[in-house]
């Protein structure tokens, strides 16, 4: 139907051969639009609906004759409409399965009958009728052949013919043109969102770079090549299971000045991956750095020589790039089309009554540009990607909001395009809901027609009529989705937004009141942003009319629930203006008599806070709020006692407290005190947000003390007993967790009997609560009394049973808590009995490094305190090998924890023998060159232990572990010193090691250590020196004897 669609249908089909419309989101959306258009045709243009098509539209239908009701003559195999043309032929004729329809009226009816098969019917119809306009209006109106002049020809026709039939015909032609225009805008919006990299763009880049690579000073790179020679039919080289992540290929680049880079090219951009793994056939696919927009950019960033030589070769290179890749110049062109189309549209809206008279020829232009610039195949594949991405996001939405840093890090890695602007607190709000137009309920509700009438007055009335229509519109239940969508579907949104741009205060107020209500609907939010509503609302925030400001802020609060909207608010300077609204609440000179359409200052501040709350879910907005001076204002508002005000204020603070800057500011502005005060409020939501804010802020020690000093621990402990509201419980347990990192707080919690309650919460709670509860217990169990308490309350069993979970944050916390309990021999017995050690051990296989490390740490006290620990450890088949192999990890924390575990394992001679066989000595030696003090500490301990077996002392020397160890003595950490002197003392039993130590200047360092107040350190240092000295004496003796 119409130019656009014909085009869209053709190009999607072209990829495959047979003329079918592919099921892509875009096509579906276009079909939906057409369905809405055809369905409403009967009511909107009854005269035109009766017009008999020049040729019938025929296709294979899936409808049964029985589905047809009154108005049709139904027999077993055929259906005829009662409505007939001049010659008595029925306008609809169905002979299963072929159907022929000859008027818009009948098409409308048919779609009603089709109900949920609408989409299928519309698709079948359009597939069978590739140029429906010709069939409807005759070949003079063909849109496929000479599109550019068709409008002119229509105009010609009007002038030449006086036939009344032609007037209708022309009307229909116009309507179709309009529809076309609408579809065009619609699909452009879809497409413009999806500009991404594609295989051919990458291929061009690589080929081009290859041409300029090679030996010598002048080339840009030494070499660039794909990791795989095989190219799939879709142009990708990545293995299929990686392609589903949007990855297309991997390239190995050898620049002149830096090490070889292994780069992943994905549809989202290019980034460094983990490089080739040891066995050289596999690649570590994990992302290691920022995402860049293309290969050239990343290489410029990584290699100075590259960018220098690029600049030299720049001119020629750029020219070629321009020639070979369509990507760069495609985008701006599209932009241009969109703006042009938008401009067209806005003129349409400005004088809605006259739009039929607009120059139609001009409106056709965008469709032609569009056709020539869009790359079809690319668009199709990226459409699929977005769907997958969407799916992934839905899954993410389900996982907990509260579960802390780790998860947010993972999330960030999964959604790289959002890294820069998004924070961890994004929730399912970010889903892009499929834009479904009312398809399920075929019969449009009566509200639809009434709203349509009102919108007509909005379009064609002066201020007075507009205000009446706006007020009447609010009599509908705007919370109802049918009404919300009806307003949009009859074009009401455009008018409402246009009204905001006028000077009429009353119209603006009326319009905003409606927008505020309907923007609770996620689809409407998107439409408002697409129609450019946000910049206008942001401007209104400057209005002198407070009522207007409030309404605009409240609407922004509703709309800014998704990323693009938040970004738009920021980019149009909305954050600064919203922050300015917060300042209103304080001016003492409240006018004695608020004017007619006015409202109070406090209300303005409240609405501002509400909007900021929504906006503060984006990282960049948090920064913007801070820079605009929002924190002191929020702090001031926090002192009020209106719940309405406090909730958005605390909500905003809580969102923002995820940032370090904010936490410092929150401390400086003495906000904690008020947060604590509001924990005692009666409002659950307020309690929740306060607890959440404390949770975020209590990362900082001083803040934890402040919470205690202001008496915040008691209300937290008492809120712990109220388990009905899970969101609040999650926030409260989170706050308790973070607060209990400070010992004094733990003592207080014990006083308030919070620990018993926490143990009680270990079962039947949602994961986000469990993560925090277990985290809190982990901190509490660092103290003896609490460990006993937890055991006595029966906390160990539920803790151990949580070890089988899959939630990473939960596992990290559970292993920590179990490890803390295991310090107590009695608790250890219970853990052992519940097979907890085996469970911990199997977590060493967990893919996530944080879980691995935490499990290894937890194993240390277990092995230390278990009876027959050696026997127990040996009983885990393959367990020792697993531990030793973890020394190959590249995560420092994992390495340190595994070293600690090895220290404990090696206390048993037999086990030490086994791990020696598994090659623990070379692996430990390999780690010796490190600057990480934690790792040094545990590594040195492990080495000291492992010296106790066979010729390990000699072996450490052979693997060159001794010299680096000597350097550890220069560290500032006494723990490192103690462990290192122990290790050196053990190693010095071997003469060659003594020589190495001496050569590396160990003696002087050790002599310093002898002066240490730490006794064990003294002894070990002295022992080592004596070994070295003894060797020297023996040598002298041998020489002079």
């Amino acid at each position: 139907m119409g130019v656009t669609l014909t085009k869209s249908a053709q190009w999607t089909a072209a990829g495959r051969g047979p003329a079918t419309l592919e099921v892509t989101p875009l096509n579906e959306a276009i079909l939906q639009e057409i369905i809405v258009f055809v369905e409403s045709f009967l009511y909107m243009y009854p005269r035109e609906a009766k017009f008999v098509f020049v040729e019938p539209l025929g296709w294979k239908t899936s409808l049964e004759p029985l589905a047809f009701g009154s108005g049709y003559v139904v027999s077993e195999k055929t259906v005829k409409s009662e409505e007939v043309d001049k010659n008595g032929e029925p306008l609809l004729f169905l002979s299963v399965p072929q159907i022929k329809v000859r008027s818009f009226g009948q098409l409308s009816c048919l779609l009603y009958i089709a109900k949920d098969k609408k989409l299928k019917e519309a698709q079948a119809c359009l597939e069978a009728n590739r140029d429906p306009v010709v069939k409807i209006l005759g070949s003079d109106y063909s849109t496929t052949k000479r599109e550019d002049s068709s409008a002119l020809r229509i105009l010609d026709k009007i002038i030449k013919d006086d036939d009344p039939e032609h007037e209708i015909k022309t009307n229909i032609a116009m309507l179709i043109q309009q529809m076309d225009m609408h579809l065009l805008n619609y699909s452009l919006k879809h497409i413009s969102l999806e500009i991404r990299l594609n295989p051919s763009a990458i291929k061009n880049d690589v080929e081009l770079l290859q041409r300029y690579s090679g030996k010598g000073e002048q080339t840009v790179l030494e070499s660039i090549e794909y990791t795989s020679d095989y190219e799939f039919s879709n142009g990708c080289r990545a293995p299929p299971w990686r392609q589903i992540h949007g990855e297309m290929c991997y390239v190995l680049v050898k620049p002149h000045d830096v090490e070889a880079l292994c780069i992943t090219c994905s549809t989202e951009g290019v980034f460094l991956n983990g490089g080739k793994t040891d066995d050289a056939t596999e690649i570590n696919y994990e992302r290691k750095g920022k995402i860049y927009k293309d290969l050239i950019t990343i290489l410029r960033e990584k290699s100075a020589t590259f960018s220098k030589n690029m600049a030299k070769q720049g001119n020629t290179f750029n020219e070629e790039q321009q020639k070979e890749t369509f990507q760069p110049d495609e985008a701006p062109k599209k932009e241009e089309v969109t703006t042009k189309a938008d401009a067209e549209k806005s003129t349409l809206q400005m004088n809605p009554i006259n739009f039929v008279r607009n120059p139609i020829g001009k409106r056709l232009e965008p469709s032609l540009n569009w056709k020539s610039t869009v790359d079809l195949k690319d668009h199709r594949s990226s459409g699929r990607d977005t769907q997958e991405e969407k799916h992934a996001r839905i899954e993410k939405g389900r996982s907990s909001v509260v579960s802390g840093r780790m998860q947010s890090a993972r999330k960030a890695a999964d959604k790289p395009e959002e890294i820069l602007s998004e924070s961890s607190s994004e929730s399912e709000e970010d889903e892009e809901p499929p834009d479904h137009r009312q398809e399920a309920n075929a019969d449009l509700p009566s509200e639809y027609w009434q709203i349509q009438k009102l919108v007509k007055y909005l379009k064609g009335g002066n201020q007075t009529a507009t205000v009446i229509a706006l007020c009447s519109m609010r009599d509908f239940n705007l919370a109802q989705e049918t009404c919300q969508l009806a307003i949009r579907d009859v074009g009401g949104l455009e008018v409402l937004i246009n009204l905001l741009d006028t000077d009429e205060v009353k119209c603006k107020i009326g319009s905003l009141k409606i927008l505020k209500e309907i923007s609770h609907n996620p689809q409407i939010r998107r439409n408002i942003v697409d129609l450019g509503g946000l910049p206008i609302m942001v401007n209104i925030l400057d209005s002198p009319n407070k009522n207007l400001k409030c309404l605009a802020a409240e609407t922004i609060a509703n709309v800014a629930k998704f990323r693009r909207a938040r970004q738009a608010v920021r980019q149009h300077g909305g954050i600064t203006k919203l922050v300015a609204l917060l300042d209103c609440g304080q001016s003492p000179s409240e006018p004695p008599q608020p004017s007619l359409y006015e409202t109070r200052d406090v209300e303005v501040a409240r609405c501002g806070a509400q909007a900021l709350w929504s906006c503060s879910k984006s990282y960049a907005n948090k920064e913007a709020i801070r820079k605009a001076g929002g924190i002191p204002l929020l702090a001031r508002l926090l002192k009020t006692s209106h719940e309405d005000m406090l909730i958005p204020v605390v909500g905003t603070l809580q969102e923002c407290a995820s940032e370090e800057n904010y936490r410092a500011a929150i401390k400086a502005e003495r906000i904690i005190e008020n947060l604590v005060k509001n924990l005692n409020s009666a409002n659950e939501q307020l309690q929740e947000h306060c607890a959440m804010a404390i949770y975020q802020c209590a990362e900082d020690e001083e803040t934890r003390d402040l919470v205690r000093l202001h008496g915040g621990l008691k209300p937290l402990a008492s809120l712990l007993g109220k388990t009905d509201n899970k969101e609040r419980l999650a926030a409260v347990t989170g706050a308790i967790w973070k607060c209990s990192i400070s010992k004094e707080n733990v003592t207080k919690f014990r006083e308030y009997r919070a620990i018993e309650t926490l143990v009680g919460l270990l079962s039947d709670q949602p994961e986000e609560v469990l993560v925090n509860v277990v985290g809190a217990l982990g901190e509490c169990c660092q103290e003896y009394e609490n460990r006993v308490l937890v055991r006595k309350c029966g906390g160990i069993q539920p803790l151990v049973s949580l070890l089988v979970g899959i939630n990473q944050s939960l596992l990290v916390n559970v292993t920590k808590a179990v490890g803390a309990c295991a310090v107590e021999p009695e608790s250890m017995m219970i853990i052992d009995r519940l097979d907890g050690v085996r469970l911990l051990w199997s977590l060493l296989k967990n893919p996530h490094p944080d879980v691995k490390a935490s499990a290894a740490w937890a194993l240390c006290p277990c092995i230390e305190n278990a009876k027959d620990a050696g026997e127990m450890v040996r009983s885990f088949v393959g367990g020792l090998e697993l531990v030793v192999n973890l020394l190959k990890s590249d995560n420092k924390e994992v390495l340190a924890s595994v070293c600690a575990a090895i220290t404990n394992i090696a206390k048993d001679q037999e086990n030490l023998a086994v791990i020696t066989d598994h090659g623990v000595v070379p692996l430990l030696s390999k780690l010796a060159n490190t600057n990480n003090d934690k790792l040094r500490h545990h590594l040195a301990e492990a080495i000291a232990r492992c010296c106790m077996w066979g010729r390990n002392r000699v072996a450490f020397g052979e693997y060159k572990a001794v010299a680096p160890l000597v350097r550890y003595l220069k560290s500032d950490d006494t723990n490192v010193h103690r462990a290192t002197t122990q290790a050196l003392y053990q190693l010095s039993e071997d003469a060659n090691n003594c020589i190495t130590m001496h050569e590396n200047g160990a003696v002087k360092l050790l002599l310093d250590m002898v002066g240490s107040p730490d006794q064990s350190l003294q002894e070990a240092a002295a022992g080592c020196i004596s070994n070295i000295r003894r060797l020297a004496l023996a040598t002298e003796k041998a020489r002079y004897a």
Binding site: G461, L596, Y597
Partner: protein
């Protein structure tokens, strides 16, 4: 003008009009005189006639609709002598500029009912909304549109379903939604004018 008479006038008016200070009333009287002088030289019959008043409404208060300006004139002119005397002037302006919500409500209602039976009839509404739609293709269509608009308004405001709008109806509707105060056309000064006039003109 005679200072003594002026003082006396101010005193008498200030007894009934509370929302202005005496100095403000004096200023308004002086303003009235200057306006009248420009249009009517005879002082004994001091008063603003319709066209002069309309001129003022237009230039100072930014009103444009002729019909509504006439109606505002009649609402000011309490004694129906087709002239606005100084008392009516000050009183009217007190509602205009400093009126409480209730006063304005009453004022607007007075503007909208013309024939004085205390109700706004459908025909009156039609008259007032006649020009509220931009020209459509034919006059009939426009009339049809206005008629429907009247129906919509009645549906919204005629709570007792008697086919006309009483003051009670009007009051209830406006209290539900303040935007309906000037439902049949602007008859109060715009907000920004309201703020500027007292400072600029009176003092």
């Amino acid at each position: 003008m005679d200072q003594k008479a002026l003082k006396k006038l101010v005193e008498s008016i200030s007894k009934t009009v509370k929302s202005f200070k005496k100095s403000e009333i004096e200023g308004l009287i002086r303003l009235f005189h200057s306006l009248v002088k420009r249009t009517d030289e005879r002082l004994n019959q001091m008063g603003l006639d319709r066209s002069a008043f309309r001129e003022i409404l237009h230039s100072i208060f930014g009103m444009t609709d002729d019909m509504l300006m006439d109606r505002v004139f009649f609402a000011f002119d309490k004694d129906n002598d087709s002239r606005i005397n100084v008392n009516e002037w000050v009183k009217g302006l007190s509602v205009f500029l400093r009126g409480t919500f209730e006063e304005k409500l009453k004022f607007c209602f007075e503007v909208y009912y013309l024939n004085g039976d205390g109700y706004i009839s459908q025909d009156e509404i039609f008259d007032m909304l006649k020009n509220s739609l931009y020209q459509q293709s034919s006059e009939e269509e426009t009339d049809e549109g206005v008629k429907e608009l009247v129906e919509i308004t009645m549906k919204k405001m005629d709570y007792d379903n008697d086919g006309k709008i009483s003051f009670a109806d009007f009051e209830r509707a406006v209290k539900n939604d303040r935007l309906l105060l000037e439902v049949f056309g602007p008859c109060l000064p715009e907000a920004q004018v309201q703020l500027q006039v007292p400072t600029a003109q009176i003092s």
